[in-house]
Symmetry: C2
Subunit: 199 residues, 2 copies
Amino acid sequence: MAEYIESLQLLAEKFGRLEGVGKKTAMRMAFSVLELEPEDAQAFAKAILDAKEKIHLCPICQNLTDREVCSICADENRDHSVICVVTDARTVIAMEKVRDFDGVYHVLHGLISPMNGITPDQLKIKELLARVGNGDVGEVIVATNPTVEGEATAMYLSKLLRPLGIRVTRLAYGVPVGADLEYADEITLFRALEGRREV
Amino acid sequence: MAEYIESLQLLAEKFGRLEGVGKKTAMRMAFSVLELEPEDAQAFAKAILDAKEKIHLCPICQNLTDREVCSICADENRDHSVICVVTDARTVIAMEKVRDFDGVYHVLHGLISPMNGITPDQLKIKELLARVGNGDVGEVIVATNPTVEGEATAMYLSKLLRPLGIRVTRLAYGVPVGADLEYADEITLFRALEGRREV
């Protein structure tokens, strides 16, 4: 029985520590590891250690990188006067897929959330202020999630940056492309109506 | 951008090799590893290597174990004359949770599936025959899934074992406890009706 196999239990427990992995999934993954070829299992273990060792935060935008400065901040073809502020590194990936944004990013690593004890000083806001402080930044696009925390953080940043003469914008609200209006919630519909544009 | 962070990509790819882990989940897990404490990441890598190294098949029942003989086969309080044949090690865990079964197990490590090129000789059937060959086994309960492959394997085992004077049984079909009859499929209902018992 797996409950008696200590090393399997231990491995499942490690998988269970990852975000969004429940007990059953963790156990399934642990079993899956046993089915790997020995060299694949070794490569897996090495990949964990390598990723932990090599990846750190970009000193400019606070995004994850394995270089001194991340590839986006180092890219001279991008518009460094427009900063898109995001919650985490994953949002950067999502935004980059749009391919239409050629500015740079700033990763906050969280959202202001008094309920969870997360205050502005725990986020990378000081670093953002330092970046806009040198005067080259014209616009900050706040691309936080449309949730209470996302809104609060956007509000906070807006109050902080507007006095410095910086244009602070927010992603548009509306019905998602391809969505069925019948199933859209009222608040989204209200926002979509409010933000309607001439066609 | 994560696409450019080679070690993160590599780690996500390793997670993606595990059963049931898609591309997005794998990337989320890789990010999750970055959030671990360094010592936890090291323990994770070690757990993978340890599990691979220590766990092997029990020479008797073919279940996974880290001992010479698995704890169930080594347990003298269990009834070694009743063997429950299961597809994989995970089913053993599920069966053990019932707590009412005190026989032993035999893990086939797969099901007969000509469509997928899996023939009886690729399963641990020889090992099962060797076990029942010594004459101490009275009953073999085939606990394979109620699927085409599960049925075919049960049929095959029955034809193989019955001539040796061994009672071959199968788990009962019926409506799952707590299910709504309205949503049960016809075949299940038919089987439940067929297997009806006096109350």
